[in-house]
């Protein structure tokens, strides 16, 4: 994954990174906000960036990895363009989230936690997106789709597939 960035020119990343670091203090208490911004910028935490962050915060690299791997928000591999997050909250669970997840897996041909080969979709499940009134629900990037049934899932991804093909 670091390779990707080398292709684009490591300088790009260095520049973006120094921009993020420029308005932070060099202490460990800034570590999580910095990692959050790095991830917002690159979509994941590139190894090289973490090395730089460790240097900047004056903590060992292992600590940075320790913190990043502890929290669910951080990831070490890039994601697909569309992130499908199936809600597995209690309300969704009792209203049929497992069937929804299974249907999405079938439609996209990937399992939970995987990304499609064309880097279009990443599928994951999340603890609760808080739209319990719409259970069961899922998010595609920032859009929430609620009151789902396996049938609706089929429609959802059928339409989206067509749209992306047209654009191309």
């Amino acid at each position: 994954m670091v390779k990707n960035y080398k292709k684009q020119g490591g300088n790009n990343m260095k520049y973006a990174l120094s921009e993020i670091l420029s308005y932070h203090n060099r202490t460990q208490s800034e570590l999580i906000p910095i990692l959050q911004e790095v991830q917002a910028k690159f979509g994941y935490l590139p190894g090289e960036a973490m090395t730089n962050v460790a240097e900047f915060c004056r903590v060992p690299e292992s600590k940075v990895f320790g913190v990043a791997s502890f929290y669910a928000q951080f990831r070490f591999v890039p994601l697909g363009r569309k992130q499908v997050k199936v809600c597995r909250g209690t309300a969704c669970h009792v209203r049929g989230a497992p069937q929804i997840l299974a249907e999405v897996e079938r439609q996209l041909g990937i399992k939970e936690g995987e990304t499609t080969l064309d880097m279009e979709y990443t599928l994951e499940s999340v603890a609760c997106i808080g739209a319990c009134g719409l259970a069961p629900c899922l998010m595609i990037n920032e859009d929430v789709h609620g009151r789902l049934t396996p049938k609706k899932i089929k429609k959802l991804f059928a339409v989206r597939k067509r749209v992306t093909q047209d654009v191309r």
Partner: protein, 607 residues
């Protein structure tokens, strides 16, 4: 204001259902028709998320439910212009099917008693003037200009407010302890790390009335002698973060935050910290470590309380969102007023996210001591689709499942704990007869097993052992002795864990065994899932006399397990079938030929 105000709920639930577009359309339509005396505004969560998107027209209080963009034109033209409400969009009572025009008349709202949520759904959370108009920051003014810190704490103590984050520690006591610790620097932290799946009350308060939380925090800062505050909010709540940022900026501008607040000489400022997603960080020492940029693993015992040694080793006051939101009422209306609500040992009100198999999903606030039955059947409107109530789960992954026989238990800290569950932060999930209790127990344990920070062996290893056993039971590989092992292991985990996560992780399993043992036994002895949930213990089956051989299920079956043809009754090959349930969902309603039965079918009989 003489004209009408049209309020669109822009809480996360309604936004998810498309409310932001409705808001835009309403504004456009109103300005297109030149209705100058109509104001269109938005609010935070109105409460009845099931009815979303919600549009309310004040001052009458007309309540429109499940509005779509196509309805906007009708609302504006008929109601806002001509004064004739659109009956079609009224809320319909789930029991009597009667159309109800005003939200005050809807049982969901009329049975509630709101203080924390009073402003939610009625004011624009991004406009400080709305909050001021509703009496906002009066409590702060009174505290800063008239009261000593000791007097503030005394008032909070007399109110007998208990922390609403779950454990119910007396708030006044905590404040007093923090005040008594000597130190130049102290911190106030608002715990908005609402990680329970199925709970959204803290988020709704932050989204609907952020200033009430800020006001409570500033008062707390004054009372304990702190000058800095943090709000630890989940990064998964972008809307709450955004509204908090706006609220903090507005409060600073209006002189309620930062230096020399209201010319009293008191300084206090608040920062937002976005939690990176770890359930265990709801625990106080873990939360503090997380704020310091470390792994959120609770400190080992014996440890000083965070009120003594907290953030950056300084005394730190940590309270839940709703606890802070209550403070202004205690100051404004007095401790006696607050103490008059609720039961003897639990004062005030409780905020719940009522979800699951219930007609009216949503955000509710009820006085302590109300029974579960009143919440579920009066406010919640009962169970949909004519199904039967089976259990209610409170307290999220730390709580337990209570059966129908305990519906008359009053909702307060002690009664719920006695019943084997807990108050928790405010999730309340209702389950009906199509919910499998073994599956629910497995679900919660899956969550806690994943979220265990891993430092206590019993929590880390014990929970995965329990999970393994539960998985085996739900796959039909359960053994007779499994139930006893689960109970023994559960008790051991409770004793052998440092923090609340481990100490309460076995609760869902232990309570489901206590109240629904027969379901576990059906899974183990009969290899059947009575609620038709566990895939390995059910079968799909086509009723020959109902099947019209329409080929729909046959074509849709993802594993090609259905045999048959035109004019040939379809049959499911049980060995190939993976029980995905597609056939039952595609079979046309008028045939309803597919049925799901407990147990595994083999050659026409049960395995």
């Amino acid at each position: 204001m003489s004209g009408k105000t049209c309020l669109v709920c822009l809480g996360t639930g309604c936004v998810s259902a498309g409310a932001d577009q409705i808001y835009e359309d309403l504004r456009q339509e109103v300005s297109r028709l030149g209705l100058s005396d109509v104001t269109v505004d938005f609010t935070g969560c109105h409460g009845c998320c099931q009815c979303g998107p919600i549009v309310v027209v004040e001052p009458e209080g007309i309540f429109y439910s499940q509005v779509t963009t196509e309805d906007v034109h009708e609302i504006v033209e008929f109601h806002l212009r001509d004064g004739k409400p659109v009956k079609r969009l009224f809320y319909h009572d789930p029991v009597t099917n009667e159309a109800i025009a005003h939200y005050r008349d809807i049982m969901f709202y009329s049975k509630q008693q709101r203080a924390v949520l009073l402003n939610c759904g009625h004011i624009n959370p991004e406009n400080i003037d709305d909050y001021l108009e509703a009496g906002g920051y009066q409590a702060l003014r009174r505290v800063l200009l008239e009261l000593h810190p000791e007097q503030v704490i005394d008032e909070v103590k007399r109110s007998e407010l208990r922390g609403l984050g779950g454990a119910g520690f007396p708030t006044g006591k905590k404040w007093e302890a923090c005040l008594k610790v000597l130190g130049e620097k102290k911190y106030v932290i608002c715990n908005a790390d609402e990680g329970d799946p199925g709970a959204f009350q803290d988020r709704s308060v932050l989204e609907g009335d952020p200033h009430s939380v800020l006001e409570g925090m500033i008062i707390a800062g004054y009372a304990v002698g702190a000058k800095e505050g943090y709000i630890y909010v989940r990064a998964e709540y972008p809307l709450a973060v955004k509204r908090l940022q706006i609220a903090i900026a507005q409060a600073r501008e209006s002189g309620f935050l930062s230096k020399n607040i209201l010319s009293s000489g008191f300084d206090f400022d608040i920062d937002i910290f976005q939690g990176a997603g770890a359930f265990v960080c709801g625990e106080s020492t873990a939360l503090v470590l997380s704020l310091e940029g470390k792994r959120g693993m609770p400190n080992p015992l014996p440890r000083p309380r965070t009120t003594e040694v907290g953030l950056k080793d300084k005394p730190t006051l940590l309270n839940n969102v709703k606890t802070f939101a209550n403070i202004r009422w205690i100051i404004n209306k007095g401790a006696d007023w607050f103490a008059s609500i609720g039961t003897e040992k639990s004062k005030g009100s409780a905020v719940f996210s009522l979800t699951g198999k219930i007609e009216n999903c949503g955000l509710i606030e009820v006085p302590m001591g109300i029974t579960l039955r009143e919440i579920i059947f009066d406010i919640g409107g009962g169970i949909p689709e004519g199904k039967v109530f089976k259990a209610v789960q409170t307290g999220g992954p730390s709580g337990g499942c209570l059966p129908a026989s305990l519906l008359n238990v009053p909702v307060d800290f002690d009664s719920l704990t006695t019943a084997g569950s807990m108050m928790g932060s405010g999730g309340m999930v209702v389950m009906d007869d199509s919910t499998c209790m073994v599956d629910v127990a497995r679900y919660f344990l899956e969550f806690t097993e994943k979220e265990s920070c891993g430092q206590c062996s019993l929590c880390r290893l014990g929970s995965s052992q329990m999970l393994g056993i539960l998985r085996a039971i739900s796959e039909g590989k359960g053994k007779i002795e499994d139930i006893d092992i689960l109970i023994e292991l559960g008790e051991a985990i409770k004793i052998g864990s440092l923090c609340g996560l481990g100490q309460s992780a076995p609760n869902p399993v232990i309570t489901t065994i206590r109240y629904f043992r027969d379901e576990y036994e059906a899974h183990i002895y009969e290899k059947k899932c009575p609620a038709l949930v566990c895939k390995d213990l059910i079968s799909y089956h086509i009723l020959p006399d109902k099947c019209n051989a329409c080929m729909i299920c046959l074509r849709n079956c993802p594993v090609e397990a259905i045999k048959g043809g035109k004019k040939e009754v379809h049959v499911i090959d049980q060995d190939k079938c993976n029980r995905c349930g597609v056939c039952i969902s595609v079979c046309p309603k008028r045939f309803s030929a597919v049925e799901c039965i407990p147990g595994r079918l083999i050659e026409g009989g049960l395995k």
